[in-house]
């Protein structure tokens, strides 16, 4: 699954259209199609942190219970003193100007140009040397790294203003056109990130849910059950249904004992 975050509708619309996403929530502007979610957070650090927290709760606890691996991509416009308007960059260092905190998003390739990115609370009078400026990235990365592995969290920014084309000239229509021109690249990055996320093995949930709903397991037994099912899948088989001998068991203890017997007696050649 991949979660996309944009600050404004103008930035989000080209991606929503390209991916044919449908609006599904009124709490936040949330759009979805299959395994892709896009949320419009609003501008600024506070808005993006709130949106990421809300979306994480929805992703992990409601819609995709059991999901353990979710990728996050923040995309939008940013200023830079000298970079050409419309040029796109993946962030390789993100600094929060107010707090001094910094992050280095893992770089998986050098196919796309990269840049330092500084998040500011209010627009600056002049640009800092050789770095992009936005108002959300530091908050986005801080919030999402709580929920996902650092490698699955990335930011892409498209240059909207520079010293010769000031921020005051940037409006919604212009922002929309900049993202429209980069939409293919943004989607490509999102797909690569999701592919990476899918390489993390998902825990066995079907058999776990079947067993857990049929017998009562205490908290510590639940932990044992998860680990035994993991070993069962690695050593014997990824059972989709309750194995026949377990059907006769009358207690959770018997279930655990049977599973333990099976994995301990399994062929232990590699």
């Amino acid at each position: 699954m991949i979660n996309l975050i944009a600050a404004t509708r103008a930035e989000a619309d080209p991606v929503i259209a390209a991916l044919k996403l449908k609006r599904i929530s009124t709490n936040f502007d949330l759009y979805q199609h299959d395994h892709i979610q896009l949320i419009i957070s609003g501008m600024g650090k506070c808005n993006v942190a709130t949106a990421c927290g809300w979306l994480a709760n929805r992703t992990f606890n409601e819609e995709a219970a059991g999901a353990t691996s979710v990728a996050w991509l923040n995309f939008g416009i940013a200023g830079h003193a000298t970079h050409e308007l419309g040029s796109a960059y993946i962030a390789h260092k993100i600094t929060d100007l107010a707090t001094g905190e910094l992050w280095y998003p893992h770089q998986f390739s050098n196919n796309l140009p990269s840049s330092e990115l500084t998040t500011v609370d209010t627009p600056l009078l002049d640009y800092l040397p050789d770095q992009l400026h936005d108002m959300e990235a530091s908050s986005f990365i801080k919030a999402t790294r709580i929920f996902s592995d650092a490698e699955l969290v990335q930011c892409i920014k498209v240059v909207s203003d520079n010293r010769t084309n000031p921020l005051s000239a940037v409006n919604a229509k212009f922002a929309n056109s900049l993202i429209t021109n980069s939409v293919e690249m943004i989607i490509q990055q999102a797909e690569q990130l999701e592919t990476l996320s899918n390489t993390i093995p998902q825990p066995e949930t079907r058999l776990f849910n079947l067993l857990h709903s049929r017998w009562h397991f205490s908290a510590s037994q639940t932990t044992q059950l998860r680990r035994l099912l993991q070993r069962y899948a690695a050593l014997l088989d990824s059972a989709e249904n309750i194995p026949e001998p377990l059907q006769q068991k009358t207690s959770s203890k018997d279930v655990l004992n049977w599973l333990k017997g099976q994995v301990d007696r399994a062929d232990i050649s590699l």
Binding site: L196, I200, L235
Partner: protein, 328 residues
């Protein structure tokens, strides 16, 4: 191979930094204040990073040389290790580095001279010989064409005959050794597992026969060799597997010239083992019936003892007891 290089500001103009960067002209260069901002952060995932590791160039400031864990050594009383590099080019599924670090990026400390200064200080604290093991937190030779560490290390140790160097490796990158005269105080120790373990668990490691050929070249050039069979992983065909491996090795290598052989059972500190299960839940090795004893997770003691005895017996066909050292 390397697409991103992180460089600490402090060493951005260090000659080794400049030389290493020259090897990767297309790599993206990112400067950072301290390597700890990039290496081993809480939310990093070793498995994901291992798909495409970056290179980090940094300066180490302390603890260049550390005492080895108990039971690690080849006969000497004074055993130390040092790591000019953290992490390995290879991807052996049993390797403890996966449990020790959250980051799979290759970290190279470019201030080699500081390591040698501390080695000098450590060795001079006693009149006895001291052993210094390289290849504990990395493979000693696999990245040598990049690090160019070995020529500097060999030069240092050739001038310090009471300090012994063990170069532990699974690599065939032996050019820097062949370019140097063999040294009596240096042992090149090659690690091996039987073929089926190699195929299933030692991802990216050079072929067994290629490593044997590298050993033979070194032995022909007068280098002292070590053989390391660690970890030993139980298998129902363990005896045949090790007999076949040793026969293969000693068809080419003169056992009488061997400096030492060591072996040890597969074992992991419990926190490392738990972390490795989370990284590779589908890995059969971590689902075998392992138990916890002596603060380590390993095979049950009866399995362990019989496996080690089998390996020991297989070794005695080729080498004398006095050069065999079990590791615990």
């Amino acid at each position: 191979m390397i697409h991103t290089i992180y460089i600490e500001e402090e060493i951005r103009d260090h000659p080794r930094t400049l030389r290493i960067c020259q090897r990767f002209p297309n790599a993206r260069t990112i400067y950072c204040e301290r390597y700890t901002s990039v290496f081993n952060n809480n939310s990093q995932n070793f498995r994901l990073q291992k798909k495409n590791p970056a290179l980090i160039l940094a300066k180490k400031h302390q603890k260049y040389v550390l005492p080895t864990p108990a039971g690690y050594g080849v006969g000497s009383e004074r055993n130390f290790y040092f790591s000019h590099m953290l992490n390995c080019l290879y991807d052996c599924r049993y390797c403890f580095l996966q449990g020790m670090y959250r980051s799979a990026n290759y970290l190279i400390f470019v201030n080699y001279e500081d390591f040698f200064e501390e080695i000098t200080n450590t060795a001079s604290a006693s009149t006895e010989d001291s052993w210094f093991f390289s290849g504990y937190d990395c493979d000693s030779l696999a990245m040598d064409p990049v690090t160019d560490f070995m020529p500097t290390a060999l030069e240092y140790f050739s001038n310090h005959p009471k300090s012994y160097l063990e170069i532990r490796t699974k690599s065939t990158q032996i050019r820097s050794l062949l370019n140097h005269e063999a040294m009596p105080n240096c042992v090149v120790a090659f690690s091996f597992s039987p073929n089926n373990t190699y195929k299933k668990l030692e991802h990216g490691v050079p072929d067994i026969n290629k490593r044997i050929r590298a050993m033979k070249k070194l032995q022909n050039n007068g280098w002292r060799l070590g053989l390391r069979l660690d970890p030993v992983i139980y298998s129902p065909t363990l005896q045949a597997d090790y007999e076949s491996l040793l026969e293969n090795i000693f068809q080419s290598i003169d056992a009488k010239l061997l400096h030492s052989v060591s072996y040890g059972m597969f074992r992991l500190p419990k926190p490392f083992y738990k972390k490795m299960i989370r990284l590779y839940p589908e890995e059969k090795l971590f689902s075998l019936p392992l138990t916890e004893h002596d603060a380590q997770v390993s095979f049950e003691q009866t399995t362990e003892l019989s496996s080690l005895e089998t390996v020991h017996t297989a070794l005695l066909k080729y080498v004398e007891e006095k050069i065999i050292f079990p590791c615990r």
